[in-house]
Amino acid sequence: MCLAVPMELMSIQGELGIVELGGARTEVRLTLLEDPQVGDFVIVHAGFAIQKLDREQAEKDLALMAEVFGDGTPGGR
């Protein structure tokens, strides 16, 4: 029940922020976040940022996934 996408916070104007995904920019409300910073990636739903993306965790997960993919033997790891 929730269409939400990760977008990069490009600038902040009070409670509002400009976010970008794939070169498309739009305005979101940052009201629901604790201390957003320019450069954060935020999860955007219905015009509100509902959480910061944990980039460190994302990079860890992606690295793990690359390991899964990179492993040639079926059932390995």
């Binding site: 029940m1 929730c2 269409l3 977008m7 995904l21 794939g22 070169g23 498309a24 739009t26």
Partner: protein, 337 residues
């Protein structure tokens, strides 16, 4: 007292002096043409070809202006492209305007200027027309109808009947650009990075045909997008289509727009995109001809006609899954779920 911007009045549509002034200053001045200027009841034309293609379309887009175009440009390109899709060289257009009382004169002039520019770009002449004004509240600003005449060659014609399993499906570039731009403007979403692809496609089509490619079918992917064109072509026939999701060209901002609002780009409107179905042996040559043209730089082979399931369109998804691409029910709306 401040200057009020000049507005179109009911009297401008009544056929009297004001009508003549309007046609003279807002239409003829922007669209100089020896036939149009005669303002006869009908335009007398000469054609080089015995067989003609004839089409009409009405344009009701809101908002009137959007990134990449406006209703005027749309009114020319849409009709020109319907002719081009039949392999007909667009020659002449009619132009009927239904203006809502109170529309600013400057808006009308801007639209007509856009029509003139698009007509020059498309190589068509606007040779006859009509202007009506309706009461305030009855007209949404401006409606336009254009009808077009194009000249057909002697070939077998372009129709879904000619398609056979194995034929390749091509598109001349990125999809969803127009739909995304207009929806973003209309819903005041303020999403930057979007622009309509509105463009006249006869030159592009001609270059493919001149290269001697065996093209079976063409259609411009307007309302309902790519998926609708393919569904309509396959309906009730002995073939279906498979489309490869990763082969379909799309601009990143349009993809992002669709992600954000829950739209499916394969159903979004285009105004400068032609879907072509070509014999497999000519697919590469058709692709090269498209890519050599300024309006075809991002052209791609996106799928093919298949013997089964007949009448249906399937998508081979980016993760190597599969799903059906069914007919749209109605317009897509921005969604949160």
């Amino acid at each position: 007292m401040g200057e009020k911007a000049e507005q179109i009045l009911l009297a401008h549509g009544s056929g009297g002096r004001l009508s003549h002034d309007l046609v003279g200053s807002s239409i003829l001045k922007a669209l100089p043409d020896p036939v149009l200027e005669k303002l006869t009841d009908s335009a007398e034309l000469e054609l080089d070809s015995r067989r003609i293609a004839f089409t009409t379309d009405s344009y009701t887009v809101r908002p009137l202006f959007f990134p990449g175009g406006d209703i005027g440009r749309l009114a020319v390109c849409g009709t020109v492209n319907d002719l081009a899709a039949m392999g007909a060289k667009p020659r002449f257009l009619s132009l009927a305007l239904i203006i809502e009382e109170g529309l600013e004169r400057a808006v009308l002039d801007r639209v007509v200027g856009s029509i003139a520019a698009a007509a020059r770009e498309a190589g068509v002449r606007i040779v006859t027309g009509d202007t009506k004004v309706v009461e305030k509240g009855k007209g949404d600003g401006l409606f336009i109808n254009t009808a077009g005449i194009g000249e057909l060659g002697d070939g077998p014609g372009f129709s879904p009947e000619r398609i056979a399993a194995g034929d390749k499906v091509l598109v001349n570039g990125t999809i969803g650009d127009h739909g995304a731009a207009v929806i973003s403007e209309r819903q005041a979403l303020g999403i930057g990075g979007l622009a309509s692809d509105c463009a006249p496609l006869w030159g592009l089509v001609k270059s493919v045909l001149d290269a001697g490619c065996k093209v079976k079918f063409m259609r411009d992917a307007t309302r309902g997008g790519l998926a609708t064109v393919l569904n309509e072509a396959a309906a009730g026939r002995s073939f279906g289509f498979t489309v490869s999701e990763s082969a379909v060209p799309m601009r990143e901002p349009v993809r992002a727009f669709c992600e954000l609002l829950g739209f499916d780009p394969l159903y979004m409107a285009n105004e400068g995109k032609m879907v072509l179905v070509a014999a497999p042996e000519d697919a590469e040559r058709a692709l090269a001809a498209l890519r050599a043209h300024p309006l075809g730089r991002d052209a791609a082979v996106i799928g093919e006609a298949v013997p089964a399931p007949a009448g249906k369109v399937f998508l081979a998804t980016a993760v190597r899954g599969r799903r059906i691409l069914d007919m749209l029910v109605g317009d897509q709306f921005p969604r949160i779920c």
